[in-house]
């Protein structure tokens, strides 16, 4: 937002005039503020703050909705920690997160840097639109499409790799390939998000910096490595943090593509929350998994901000 007009030397002269107002106006302002804030604050309290506390409380109870809840202490957490499906789901989610975020950032950064080179403006906006188009589609519907494309027997992907002599891959039906396929589908849809962030970040780097670097003889990869990337590092941090938070909550792609299988090989934490709560009606255990996921997200985010102090350069 523009803040060019906010501070000017003339302004302080007019300020004091506005300061002492009759209290009738103040009361009007307070009433207006209350009315304006009520929908948002009440909504956030009822649908976010209470549920957060509720999650923690529920995680200490056994409850299946039908019978009345019984206090469980830390039993749910102990059960969840020893449950092999839950453990695998956390492991899957972490593996998914590392590879999905890395691929997403790498693809987005390469494309943004390439697009930043010289080319006609219209062509640039065509490419930009193409790269962020998947972002506006429904992850569930797109997974429906991808399920056909990655089908082992009649999928287009296997036909394509068959053209270069690779034998058909059981993309969705083998324990080894399924998680990779889920990552590919997720990254295909999500990289546009990081891409847009990078485009914005690159636009904020003053042209003079590039020109100065070029005059000093820096070109291509070296220029990017030593000039562009440090200047882009705040954007990289945002893209990584948000990318990680989103990846840790992945649900639609594994749910539609593989339903967690084969075995538990693509079961993610949010899938486990969904199944435990709404298929098995074990609300206490589901809440315990939810609380653990929340703690994980907070911890990973805090860790990133911590590490970022060494790598991120603010201008």
């Amino acid at each position: 937002m523009t803040n060019t007009q906010t501070v000017s030397p003339a302004r302080p002269l007019t300020r004091p005039v506005a300061a002492p107002r009759p209290s009738r106006r103040d009361r009007g302002t307070r009433l207006l503020a209350t009315l304006f804030l009520a929908p948002t604050v009440v909504g956030i309290v009822v649908f976010t703050v209470v549920p957060i506390v509720g999650s923690v409380v529920l995680s200490l109870f056994h409850w299946n909705v039908i019978d009345s809840p019984s206090f469980a202490g830390t039993a749910n957490y102990r059960e969840v920690f020893t449950d092999s499906t839950v453990r695998v789901s956390f492991l899957n989610t972490l593996v998914f997160m590392v590879f999905a975020v890395a691929a997403q950032l790498l693809i987005a950064l390469s494309l943004a840097l390439t697009l930043n080179g010289r080319m006609p403006t219209w062509l640039r906006s065509v490419f930009r639109s193409a790269f962020f188009f998947p972002l506006v589609l429904s992850a569930a519907s797109i997974s429906v499409v991808m399920k056909y494309l990655f089908n082992q027997d009649f999928g287009v992907v296997n036909w394509l790799i068959g053209l270069v002599g690779i034998s058909p891959v059981p993309w969705l039906t083998s324990e080894h390939a399924a998680l990779a396929t889920v990552i590919i589908v997720y990254v295909w849809q999500q990289f546009g998000f990081s891409f847009l962030l990078f485009i914005g970040g690159l636009n904020n780097i003053p042209k003079e910096v590039h020109e100065a670097a070029s005059l000093d003889g820096a070109t291509g990869l070296r220029k990017h490595l030593h000039v562009t990337l440090p200047l882009l590092s705040p954007t990289l941090l945002v893209a990584t943090v948000v990318g990680v938070i989103n990846a840790l909550q992945v649900f639609e792609q594994p749910y539609v593509l593989t339903n967690g299988g084969p075995g538990d090989s693509t079961r993610t934490v949010v899938m486990v929350i969904y199944e435990t709560a709404f298929e098995q009606l074990r609300f206490g255990e589901a809440s315990a998994v939810g609380v653990l996921l929340f703690v994980l997200i907070m911890a990973v985010t805090a860790l990133q901000f911590r590490l970022s102090r060494r790598f991120v350069h603010y201008q």
Binding site: M1, N3, R11, A18, R25, T29, R30, L32, F36, L37, T40, V41, G43, I44, F47, P51, I52, G54, S55, L58, T114, G117, R118, M119, P120, W122, F127, S129, A130, F131, F133, L135, V136, L137, S138, A139, A140, S141, V145, K147, Y148, F154, V156, W159, W188, L196, L197, T219, G220, A239, V241, V242, L248, V256, V270, I273, A277, F283, L293, I297
Partner: protein, 290 residues
């Protein structure tokens, strides 16, 4: 386009040797990536125009030799597309309008009104931006159940009204407007409501457009909450209907399912075309996509 310069400039620049091939190689590489990105979408559209029997054909024909709308008639036979579309439209439109109202009002209060507990309240709003929906879904479900709102469209709509991100965005937006406009109106005797109504609200349209377009994009495509909240078919939204259609048809008639996917994509594509600018601004402004 009379723009011939960019490429010739490149070859004139100091690093001629390095860049003589550069621009073209770059454009070809980007074109290949764009094709890979749009490939699945192109395949979806072209396959939806084939007969169910032909939809397995490999190599896939990008331009169908005998385009037919058979699959589209099929999808209307299989599922109540109109009902799904109506549900999706109702849910999405009401949420988008609701978010524009709540975020506009709260954003203005945080930016331009003075009241007690302003800082902690704003802190609370910001903090909830960090809380993932998936973590709170069990209690949210129970809250809605106690209100009798599970398996209703209202249960999908009302909890989505408050938007921490939208509030934050609108606050920034109002903060960016010159303060002396309101002060001038105040000196003319306008009360706080008049100042909002006549001075600032009319300027807020572009900011509200961002909130609205983001809300549309997110909730039109939303799957997780509808999956949990809506149990009877009459309350299904489009993504839910399509996933269950695929479940029912299996791999029997790909083109029918894909026809449904194409139909459900149309409004999102329309918003992408018309509202691309606010959409991009919204996505980049705070880096929050959900």
């Amino acid at each position: 386009m009379s723009r011939v310069s960019p490429l010739s400039q490149a070859s004139l620049s100091l690093s001629r040797a390095r860049y003589s091939l550069g621009p073209w190689a770059r454009i070809v590489a980007l074109a290949v990536c764009a094709l890979l990105t749009l490939g699945p979408v192109i395949w979806t559209v072209s396959t939806s125009l084939r007969t169910p029997a032909q939809s397995f054909d490999l190599p896939p024909k990008i331009i169908p030799t005998h385009p037919t709308t058979e699959a589209y008639r099929g999808v209307f036979d299989q599922i109540d597309v109109w009902l799904l579309a109506l549900n999706s439209t109702l849910v999405t439109a009401l949420i988008a309008v609701g978010q524009m109202v709540t975020a506009g009002l709260a954003g203005y209060a945080f930016a331009r009104l003075e009241f007690r507990f302003k800082k902690p309240l704003f802190g609370l709003v910001l903090a909830t931006m960090m809380v993932p929906l998936q973590v709170t879904i069990v209690p949210v479900f129970l809250v809605l159940k106690s209100m009798g709102l599970t398996d209703t469209l209202l249960g999908l709509i009302v909890p989505a009204f408050p938007t921490a991100f939208g509030t934050f965005l609108m606050r920034q937006y109002f903060l960016g407007m010159p303060k002396d406009l309101g002060e001038a109106a105040m000196l003319d005797g306008a009360g706080p409501w008049r100042i909002f109504r006549s001075v600032y609200a009319p300027l807020a349209a572009p900011g509200l457009a961002i909130v609205g377009v983001l809300a549309f994009n997110y909730h039109w495509n939303e799957f997780f909450r509808p999956l949990i909240l809506e149990t009877s078919g009459q309350n299904y939204t489009l993504p839910l209907g399509l996933v269950s259609l695929q479940g029912n048809l299996g791999t029997g008639s790909i083109s029918v399912v894909l026809a449904g996917v194409v139909l459900s994509m149309l409004p999102a594509v329309a918003v992408f075309v018309v509202g691309q600018r606010p959409l991009r601004e919204g996505i980049t402004s705070a880096g929050v996509n959900r």
